[in-house]
Symmetry: C2
Subunit: 369 residues, 2 copies
Amino acid sequence: MSSAATLEEPPRPVRFGIMGCASIARKLARAMLLVAPTADVAAVASRSGDKARLFAADNGLPAGTRLYGSYEALLDDPDIDAIYLPLPTSLHLKWATAAAARGKHLLLEKPAALCAADLDLILAACESSGVQFMDCTMWMHHPRTAKMRQLVAHQGTIGDVRVINSIVSFPSDEDFFQNNIRIKPDLDALGALGDLGWYCIRAMLWAVDYELPKNVIALRHPVKNQAGVLLACGASLYWDDGKVATFHCSYLTNLTMDMTVVGTNGTIHVTDLLIPYDEKYGPFSLDSKTDVNELATGWVPHPSKHVVTTDLPQEALMVQEFCRLVQNIREPGGKPEGKWPAISRKTQIVVDAVKTSIDNGCESVDVAS
Amino acid sequence: MSSAATLEEPPRPVRFGIMGCASIARKLARAMLLVAPTADVAAVASRSGDKARLFAADNGLPAGTRLYGSYEALLDDPDIDAIYLPLPTSLHLKWATAAAARGKHLLLEKPAALCAADLDLILAACESSGVQFMDCTMWMHHPRTAKMRQLVAHQGTIGDVRVINSIVSFPSDEDFFQNNIRIKPDLDALGALGDLGWYCIRAMLWAVDYELPKNVIALRHPVKNQAGVLLACGASLYWDDGKVATFHCSYLTNLTMDMTVVGTNGTIHVTDLLIPYDEKYGPFSLDSKTDVNELATGWVPHPSKHVVTTDLPQEALMVQEFCRLVQNIREPGGKPEGKWPAISRKTQIVVDAVKTSIDNGCESVDVAS
């Protein structure tokens, strides 16, 4: 008896075009190479062909990578399935909608947009073209995040989440303050709030399974540069049922990437949320149903230290997940996964509310929905 | 050749009277026994002689410990040098001033008083009698705290402290909510703010070397019990130079004892600030001049984990330090150490401001000085 072997073809690679040679794009190019052949760095575009060439050479891209001296040329390439877009935030609306209109799936750097209204236009363009949207909040794709999600969802372990704190900062030098696009009013007008506060807000939403807060109040005395772009700020967030969260983000203090989640039954501490200390290990600490001993001279039990290992770094897992969703769409009846645009939109809505509170003298601002 | 040996007498013990048999007094009785003969548990007073007897038996106090069925009787004992006072906060003013008026040194449980005005009367009574005052914020006396002080004071390590967060909570059961004095309006009207917020506020003041904030704003939606006593609350604190701190304290969430200090050059994380996980070890983590690697796929350097060991638990070190100060006063020209009452007063002033903000609908409140 012979069996007719059906040789299943591997899924067709997702052919990426990298639109813009920002330094973060180097990390993503590496991530795409790590998940080849699922992902294929098919093309790179910059405002000049020389920059694209340099980027390809510096990042070990394959010889066949097509190099474009304009973003339009990249979008004209019919053999590009998806655009990775790390351009300054003020350019997201134009180029993200243009990419979606050409039927390109969209992997968009954070902050997704300057405001929720802009993001809605981008998301509408993606929906209209049936392309996948995902923002590049890389830590979401680390298996540590999935592990912590299980713990937070388990009533006996964490219970009801009541208090969240997140602090995200990185120190900046004179060159950053003079030249970095992330604090230029015409390029990244949200400054630290869009760049770093995005992570804090995502962390807080993540911890409550994306239930939007009812209102936010910015911390007083946000710090701005001379152009009025935020260098440091924070806020408190309030939910209907009494949950409260606070965050602070800053370009003015030492590298810090904290998320602390306190529930009725347990507490989670992470101190390298955005970028694990080492890309292969994701540590966090868990206290659950902790008490003090009889004379209150020690804890019972001590916190447990967890380390979630991963062979692929979180940004490669992100690319892999994005490719999986794109490949799903290719199947008969396949549709974009709506979870990622929904999470991006909620994050942007809260960023908007914090910005409005800052602009209104740190008054309470209701969160739109 | 013979030498005339001068046999230096050991300092005369500090003879403590324990005024009230609260459960925290058990921890302090043990601490006093641990630093014998410097400290001597000379007497215990309760509202009934039976309770005092039971306390002495349960805690292994020496057979000669004098047992009193009233606080007055304890104060009448001329052979008592110092009073340890763990009574409910509403009784602090009466009994602390009475003890000071009888010339007894005062080791006072926290919160020191219901308000700064009360504390000022207590401190004035101590000053007038020339007795030592110290509140029982035990973690101040752990060698870990001294080690972290060095790091915070070292400009190159932490730099300017800019952001502080502290979360302190412990979970409570039905018995606590029904019966515990810490949430009875006539006994401990400050509730979680006085009990746990005291630690948060002390931590934040400690981190900035006791510079008072300019103003505070309570977090919205503090939780109170039916009697109006705070079960959970928080605030943001603001300093003139832009430093900002946030805290949250609660009886409604899992055991949590966090202090995070973020400076321009470094970050300190402690997660067992009030009560070390194990009384012999004080862990904390330090990041200093941290950066990410070239592709931002890891940290350089990784945080350093520190553990400060101690043979004596922090509460015994506190008693030891208190005894040292009392013994100093016995020396010719000896005077009380003013540092401890000053720190207590600043803590109480900030507690007052947060309470006022809560009472005023979470408006901004200037911190008195």
